[in-house]
């Protein structure tokens, strides 16, 4: 079995730990990189190595950014009366891509998931409440995924936020239930944004 040279095996092992990459895909990638131009390989190595160094959390929306506040929070032309709460940074990307949303965001970095031991205190909920208290939005759109955990988190947030009189909305049921927001196409996501309803 020890027919693969150690540096190649080491890379295969490291790649195999990534989600969605099995040992065979890892082998393919390793041998692809062996043959790829040195420049491309070094760029990939550097991009991975330097990834975390310059990334911070935006103190306002909690999104990952190189600046604090992030580019979106620093954009004063957006609609401050509307905050869209999402699970992950990639969800911000998906919604921005539609061009149908001009408010600000709040990234929870997860959902309430008792099975995996993730409670409200593990999410950026306190920051959302503090933010809403300091500069109240008139509507908070909870765009967590239409999964069981996403719905439960939305209900939890609605119960926390509604007493202060803010309108709490949810993305329209245009998204397939059990699906993943991040993979929705632009049209479906645009329609879901337009048709958002009171929670």
């Amino acid at each position: 079995m020890h027919v693969v040279a150690e540096p190649i095996q080491r890379l295969i092992d490291a790649l195999s730990q990534l989600p969605g990459i099995g040992p065979k895909s890892a082998s393919r990638l390793a041998f692809y990189l062996l043959r790829a131009p040195g420049e491309q390989v070094q760029e990939l190595s550097a991009a991975i190595g330097e990834l975390k160094a310059s990334i911070v959390y935006c103190g306002r929306c909690q999104n990952l950014s190189v600046t604090d506040p992030c580019a979106i929070c620093a954009d004063a032309t957006r609609d401050a009366s509307l905050i869209c709460v999402v699970e992950e940074p990639l969800d911000v990307v998906a919604i921005e891509r539609t061009g149908a949303f001009r408010g600000y965001y709040h990234v929870l970095h997860g959902v309430i998931n008792p099975v995996e031991g993730i409670g409200p205190d593990d999410l950026r909920i306190a920051a959302l409440l503090a933010r809403q208290k300091a500069a109240p939005a008139t509507e908070i759109l909870i765009a967590t995924n239409p999964t069981m955990e996403g719905e439960a988190t939305a209900m939890y947030l609605a119960r926390l936020l509604r007493p202060d009189g803010v309108r709490v909305t949810r993305l329209a049921r245009g998204l397939p239930v059990g699906g993943d927001l991040e993979y929705a196409d632009e049209v479906t996501l645009s329609r879901a944004l337009e048709g958002r309803r009171e929670l």
Copy 2:
């Protein structure tokens, strides 16, 4: 569209260039790495960065290795009368995994493919001929993939090698035509090795 922080976008771009990884998978991997333990991320970065530095071609079988000759060529207990010719280093791994082969290997690093402009001179064929001249094997098993290019390369090699009296064989047709040797299961590949036939 510029809602992803630059270091993250840079990594997404670098990952997107890998075969089989589209922009969505690249995003998922990038955000996974952002959250992964720093140790794991640095190990992956280092494994990629240091990949090429210590890898050489074995002067005998042309396989990638940290030593020259490689571990297989240096193993004197193997059967020197039999050489198995494969397209890629991963094919050596696949055949070794069967435990059904005790000869030596020769890695071509590709196949003849006129469409992509790959001719015999682009492969490690001269090294195979020189090696066979210096220490003749009695059988050369050409285990290129059962694809059009693999078959053409096998025919080409057979025509070159047979005049010297060596027995030229091919893996048995147990492999699905158009398939990829690297993905064959051990049993199929073992059977194909046992039933190899004269070319």
